[in-house]
Symmetry: D3
Subunit: 191 residues, 6 copies
């Protein structure tokens, strides 16, 4: 076991060395924008192809154009991570919800029990769908998609919602499987 | 709802047109190798960036070098999909297990209840971990990783195992959320 | 443990010897009609009274006159066995659904997740009831029976439906408890 | 709905008329021995073949020779019915455990939570197996059967145990599905 | 372990000695009214402050003025204890329901599966709420409180209902955690 | 519904007026020590007896002498509240863990998934017991108490642990049932 708290996970997987230019540049940009390199990126740095594939998918899902705002995508991330009780993602994406919303309490409510948050009908439908996908995806049927359409989402928005909820069901499990350790900076952010 | 059975999902998301060269080439290669374009690829074809990100991650996980054989990665895919009761992935990856193993019954056992399959200790430990990640990832602790190490997996193999199990927890949910429809060709393959 | 794959279960219970005439005749009829003796019958052959009681109940439930067609009774068998993840019954009754319906995909959908199958209202109500009986029978109330009546079932049909669903909740558990092994012939049938 | 509390279930299925001689004789014997006709028998009386099949299987399982005593078979019945929260079977077989054991508290403990009963290792292993079969039969493996063998059960006893546990998983569900109503006489028996 | 069946729990916690006057008087009153000292009180007798706090809360909840009758509060106690499978509380409060209602069967139905009891709309809504609080309190929302208001409960009655249901979720767990042993007198009462 | 965010719950239950001297004094002491009156106390202020019973039990459990430190009792509170996803208690007792431990991350880990916290054997055994009491108290047996004794707890400490875990299973449910609203001051405390 990797007990060194400075390492991003419990697995002994040192970063590729020397670090490829693209990865190094990405890390520099993180430091510039966020003041740190999120540990999930450090965790993937042992393999260049895996790093590229993960960051490409992440950036497309969370930052590219979408009918869902960036805040809404982070809200899905936190509601899904709450069901899965993923410490890494609750800490890092909880901070993102607090920062993007300017509403620290919203981040806490989504991390602990999204049903207690005051949400409009559209956002509530979005999170209900993401949580159903997380808890029992095999029970999703056309009626669930119709509920989303009635709440104002078109089919492209439904895809994006499902893709974000699906993605965090992957990363939550990666984080728990490897004991991924959130950067301590997140804890105090936007409280 | 998209009721047209020829469409890859229940969402109305037609492919980008004209199809970018890279995607078209990829589709051609699929037809050449598999005799068809798997519907999961057709489902992502509405957006070039999403298509590229998905196929890059898929190919790295399932086809790149790893301490896990291709068959073992497919076995994880099927065991995870069985927990999530994902029709698309059980059909398509069930066929892959039958074909790669030359053991049709193995594919059926993994799809229905992997505990009934005759597996050696190493593969059983691998599937137990993948299924625990799927059912209750938040209960994974160092003891679970130690069990894998004792079964002969190094930390890189553990990463790969977790990554495949995580990935199918994403795609199972995308498939259920969008009613993804498996190509009919899979049903009769390698029976 | 009985590791001999030719034995019908993991229990060491050889058939009564000499085989009683009735049982022997029954086995002959199976070979004539099905080309084999289903292993569930071989499993019960260690005791003549148990064999007779089981086959009498099975034949009455699955073959006698009923408002439910034989295919519908097999559909219930598969949907129930899917919840219970019973390998023996999914293999043997999955084959029966494929054969009786002439629709191989229907068998697969019921075995993996009946919610993805295209069913008319009547058959969907029937399987919803059978699955509720399987998952949480203690929550069934008059409203559930009323739903069936509105879907066109009379009280006798409701009894038959409940009896078939109940029966497979018994046999699924017998099969799992004894590691009952399906005849290999089933795998390729009606694909 | 059949609201008449004198009817054995909520289904409107009157007994065959005239009652066949065998059934009538069976009812007479019940009255003679038990002072009543158990409602489960009245429930099956609408169809002679079903009545015969059910009573043949019941009598073989609960009364024929076995390595399990009659009390032990009733103990399994109650522990299984407790998991399934089946009112009919808890009332009727709870009374049987109280009567056969001469220990009213034992009946209550098994009906409410068998883990609180003082049981020897053998009977505890037996009920643990029956309850695992009820809660998650798909997780039973050879190790579970080995535990029973170490507790002193041979393979025939394991079969009998599984058969009784399986049977009550059927009848519990039939009782809940049809709102089967226990004879009021049971309540005060052997308190 | 405290194996002495005369002791109120498995913990070795003898009563304060000499017994404080208040506690002694309370015990006398129990003997006078109930013919015994309920073991839950004997269990708390090792500490005077804990005894006082527990009995003050118990008496306020179960005996003080409320829009809920004493029987209704006992009905909640039993329905909650049934979900938690708490032997002590099912035995003691089951007896209370039988005695207060004069309907022995009602006590049995609530202990085994309250959904099978014939209840009016108001009492059914009350028990549905108490059971939802017990099974998944985090899913309770304003709609659940509105259902109660429509069934005729004002906000004070809702508080009382929640308080009783909450209290038994505490005491059920205390009883199971300490192996609390019900006084044998309860078993035969009001049958 | 009481939508006024200044009210302590969704129930319309104004405080007794005039406020009894004892309650008023208690509130003054809260303001003096904590800078606020915790909303759970304001919630109980509608009835003097209920207020007194609740605060007596709370103070005895959380503040009186015990083999468990005050921090350990708060740790139990948070681990239990996490299972029950109780927003009120996670916010208020999460703040207490952060403050008493001087380790903000500990509070977050317990609120999100206590299995990820670095705990010594004794504290881990304590939280495992509290969480088992919360998730499935009916499965607690003597072996669980023996595990605690081996971890260094005597029977009085086991009682205290069970009592705190039981208590939060009550208050979590009261908070969810009434939509109890945590004072906003907690959010920024001891981050």
């Amino acid at each position: 076991m990797n007990n060194n708290p400075d390492m991003p996970t419990a697995l002994d997987l040192p970063p590729v060395s020397p670090m490829p230019e693209g990865m190094a540049g990405y890390f520099d940009k993180c430091v510039e924008k966020l003041g740190m390199v999120p540990n999930v990126l450090r965790a993937y740095a042992f393999d260049s192809d895996k790093f590229d594939a993960f960051s490409a998918m992440y950036n497309d899902l969370m930052l590219a154009d979408s009918a869902l705002t960036k805040l809404e995508r982070e809200m899905i991330a936190v509601a899904v991570s709450s069901v899965n009780r993923c410490y890494y993602c609750l800490v890092s994406h909880g901070a993102a919800v607090r920062a993007l919303s300017g509403d620290p309490e919203l981040g806490e409510r989504l991390a602990m029990n999204y049903r207690t948050a005051k949400l409009d009908t559209r956002q509530r439908a979005m999170l209900d769908f993401a949580v159903k996908m997380t808890e029992q995806s095999y029970r999703i049927e056309e009626a669930d998609r119709e509920t989303l359409r009635k709440a104002g989402f078109d089919d492209r928005a439904i895809w994006d919602m499902a893709a974000v909820a699906g993605f965090f069901n992957m990363t939550n499990r990666m984080a728990s499987a490897t004991d991924m350790r959130p950067n301590p900076e997140y804890h105090g952010q936007a409280r």
